[in-house]
Every structure is written in structure tokens, then in C-alpha cells.
Symmetry: C2
Subunit: 298 residues, 2 copies
């Protein structure tokens, strides 16, 4: 791994990912909007760049892992952004979850400078980032995918090339459609079971193994019964991703009936100040509508 890597975005995900890159022996330079968040990784051996442009000027591979579409646009296309410093032949890997449409626009601007781009959004949460077990869904040129593979392997486990530029983001959005509507299934079922005065533990045991089964049911169902709202993924972050789903669905001309419903239900929870709870707190929106409370009398 002789290529120099720059990493932009030292949030909850970037912290684990950069430490794993360093551990793998990568020559690493970092930049973050808030410099203090870089202290840990700089102490561990990474170099600091003063701007994204300066970072890009020094690096062969530039990884971005920030919050949302405007953040990626700012660090790549903005003043002193990556685009201003990038070298021909360099590779930008965006590991944020952002708009597939915006991804293709950014890729086109990088291409004008002779630079490449992969979209490589991740799932697995901060725990997966820390442990190096992220799932990585990659869109873009296969040659660039192969080039990036050793670095992906330092950060993740299930690394899948899913198609052309933007396809990684699109698959991530498909993942989120599945997560939230399956979460609605579990939420509606739990409130229905509660209203029917069922023993919720026995009910879960009776239905989890067959055609009704899902990761959300087996993992978040018991948390709902225990009213444990600690986040694997927060409502606020989930809502950001659903906005991307609805935006993409609108651009493609496809309805998203279930996702829209969940988006609106999450909105009511955000209004109540519950945005930092786990996405399975969706059940609370149905509780508020009905007056039944999952786990009461259990």
C-alpha cells in the first residue's frame, strides 16, 4: 500500500476507520472541520492538512466520510476543496451516504481534472467502524475498485462491487427502505399484540422463525419490549437517509408509499425531541396514535 491516503471527516465513523487504516500501515493525512477531533489520530501517527485542497495535493487516494450531500459538496467542490488541489489520476472515495444523483455530478467534475471517484457507503455503525467489520457497497469503475480494495479491507468485511457510479449509494438507499419498512412491520405488530393483551415474549418466540421473521424483529423486537431505546442508528440519521430515498424516488418517478409513511412518523418523534433515540423508537409514534404502550403489564 504505497499510495498516500487522505481522510476527510473524523466523526463517529471516521474515528474508527482512520485508526484501522493506520494500524494497516497506511501513510495517512487527515482533515476535519473541527480540528480538535483530529488530536487522537494525529497522536497515533497521522499527518494534518490545513485544507481539503492541501490534503488532496499531497495524496493519491482521498476518502470522504461526512454527514450529508451538502457536506460532501462543500469539502470536494467548495473553496479550498478537494477539487482545487487534486492531482490527475487520483481517486476520491466517498463513504458518506448521500444522493446518488449528486454523486454522479461530483464524479463528473472530478473526471474533468483526470481524477476518479468511487461511491462506497457503509453500514455497520460505529461499532463496525471501530472493529473494522463495516459492510461497504461500492459503485464505480472496477479498476478503481481493485485499487481501493486493500484500503477497504482495512476498514470492512463484506465489500461488494454493486455497479456503476452512484450504484453504491443507490444500494445503500435500498437497504434503508428495507430497514425502515421492516421496522414498521415490527412496530405495528408489537402495538397490535400489546392491544390484544398478548404475552409479548411468547409472541416473539412463536413468530420469529417463520415467514414473519427478520433481523429487525429478532434484534429490535426484544429492545422494544424492554423499552431500551439506545441507538444502533438514530432517528435523526435515519431521517436524513430517508430524505435521500424520497428525493431519489422523486427524481426517478417511483412512488415510495411505505418509506413516506415512516418518514412522516419519524417526523412526529423528532418534533417531540426523540431524534437521538434508536430507529426502533418508531414504535413510539404508533403508541402515541393508539394510547397502547408496548411492555405495559408484561
Amino acid at each position: 500500500m504505497s499510495e498516500k491516503v487522505g481522510f476527510i471527516g473524523l466523526g463517529i465513523m471516521g474515528q474508527g476507520m482512520t485508526h484501522n487504516l493506520l494500524k494497516a500501515g497506511v501513510d495517512l493525512t487527515v482533515w476535519n472541520r473541527t480540528r480538535s477531533k483530529a488530536e487522537s489520530i494525529v497522536t497515533a501517527g497521522a499527518q494534518w492538512a490545513d485544507t481539503p485542497a492541501a490534503l488532496a495535493h499531497q495524496c493519491d487516494i482521498i476518502i470522504t466520510c461526512v454527514s450529508d450531500t451538502p457536506d460532501v459538496e462543500a469539502v470536494i467542490l467548495g473553496e479550498d476543496g478537494v477539487l482545487a488541489g487534486i492531482k490527475a489520476g487520483a481517486l476520491v472515495i466517498d463513504m458518506s451516504t448521500i444522493s446518488p444523483h449528486a454523486t454522479r455530478e461530483i464524479a463528473a467534475k472530478l473526471a474533468e481534472k483526470g481524477a476518479h471517484m468511487l461511491d462506497a457507503p457503509i453500514s455497520g455503525g460505529s461499532e463496525g467502524a471501530a472493529k473494522g467489520t463495516l459492510s461497504i457497497m461500492v459503485g464505480g469503475d472496477v479498476v478503481q475498485f481493485d485499487r481501493a480494495m486493500p484500503f477497504f479491507q482495512a476498514m470492512g468485511k463484506a465489500i461488494t462491487h454493486v455497479g456503476e457510479q452512484g450504484a453504491g449509494q443507490m444500494v445503500k438507499l435500498v437497504n434503508q427502505v428495507l430497514v425502515v419498512i421492516t421496522g414498521l412491520a415490527v412496530s405495528e405488530a408489537m402495538v397490535f399484540a400489546q392491544a390484544g393483551s398478548l404475552d409479548l415474549e411468547k409472541t416473539l418466540a412463536a413468530v420469529s422463525q417463520g415467514a414473519a421473521g427478520s433481523w429487525m424483529l429478532s434484534n429490535r423486537g426484544p429492545q422494544m419490549i424492554q423499552r431500551d431505546w439506545r441507538p444502533g442508528f438514530t432517528i435523526d440519521l435515519q431521517q436524513k437517509d430517508l430524505r435521500l430515498v424520497l428525493e431519489a424516488a422523486d427524481q426517478m418517478g417511483v412512488p415510495a408509499l411505505g418509506t413516506s409513511l415512516v418518514f412522516n412518523l419519524y417526523r412526529t418523534l423528532q418534533q417531540q425531541g426523540l431524534g437521538s433515540e434508536g430507529n426502533h423508537a418508531l414504535v413510539k409514534a404508533l403508541e402515541h396514535l393508539s394510547g397502547f404502550r408496548v411492555g405495559d403489564g408484561v
Copy 2:
């Protein structure tokens, strides 16, 4: 198993169940609205009763496995029904999927004659009925549950006592809420992925193992891509069960946003004559709304 068993309802499920009871050495009497459907089991050694009342008069345990709430009411409460012939101490086991509310009303009428009742709806389809691998969710008195256990074991594998009278039906409805909304998740995700020109096989592979995963995704997702609409469970039967869910939700005063949405989408498919297709043909309702067709160009 010295108790004499009567079995009412020789449909697609009852055929397999009665043959498995006979194989287990049960002394079996049967009745069915259409007598010709009893030929196979009578040839195999079962006795025929001329009415449900006559059957009840001869038997200690009476199993009903018919289509819907009115059918159970007809064979138990109707003219020459089970109630007219039943002996004190006898046990009625209803293995149909019907209204939990109606179940409790029927049980009360049987109790007036000194007879017991269990509700024991099943899942696993005609294949599970034939193989004796049904899942059985049982509501009612534990002593009666223990009494029925040897007969359940002749017909099924996962046999769970889930609570009081009506609880078996309620858990079955919870199961159906989960099945259809998880099915909506898979359907919406597949149409979204198709609209995004994704490789659907790669997409499934990338998302099936994590938080987005479900039995419906792993089993019905590939069928959708192959446009294989053979039923594990038909839209018409699913719709019958959803009507029970919505009726129970209404009686309990609990909203059922996701189930209502799926009910309405299935209605459009029934109007198009697709009621005998598998419940995963739900994706066709979203295709009709959008103009995208899953599997095109794959």
C-alpha cells in the same frame, strides 16, 4: 391416544392433517361440506359422519379446520352443528384462522354445554400440513393444551401455548401483520432498485445479511426477480387474514397503518384477477403505480 377424534374440514390443509392423524393411529371420524373430498381419507380408514352434530356426538375431541369465521360459526353453532351434538367434557380445537373475538364467543357457548375449546391456528402451508411440520399457536386452558398435545404432535412441529382463549388467533394475526408489511418492504425496495437500474441479484446479495434482512427478502426477493408468482400463500387467503387483522384492530381501537396500506394494494390486484397468485405478487401493485417492472433488463 384412546380419545376419539372428529375432524371437520377436508380442504387443502385438512387433507394432510387427517392423513397424519390416521398414520399416528388415531380413531378418526370426518365430516366435510362436500362429501366427495372425504373419499381419500375414508378409504384410508376414517369413518364418515352425516352431520357435524353426529360427529360431535361420537367424539371426545373435535377439530375444525375451515376457511373463515362464518364457516366455523356454521359448523359449530349452525343447524346440526357441533354444539347440537357435543358431550360434556369434550374438547373443540379450532385450527382455522378466524376472529379472536368470535373465538371467545364460540368458546362461551361451548362452555355452557360443559365443553372446552382451544384456538390453534397454523402456519406452514399445504406442504407443512402434508409433512406434519405445521407451526401451531395455541390459546386456551393449559390442561386442555396438554390433552391435545399428542394430536398436535401428529400434525405439527413448533407447538406453542401462547395464552388464553383467543390468544392463538391473535398471535396468528400478529404473524400476518409482520408477513405483509415485511413483504411491502421487499416490494418497495425491489421497485426502487429497478428504477435505479441496479443489478437486482447483486443488490439482494449486498443487503440480505444485515439489518435489512428478512425471511421475505431471502425467499420472496429472488422469486420477484424471476417473476415467479407461484403461491406459498395466495393473495386471496392473505386478504382474508388481513380483513381479520383490520377487524380486530378496529375492535381494540388500535390503528394499523401499514396493514391497511397493504390491504388496499392487494385489493387492486384482486380486481385485476390476480388473487390466486402468491402474496409476494404485492410488488405488482407498486409496479402498476410506477410503470417500472422488476426484472426488466436483468
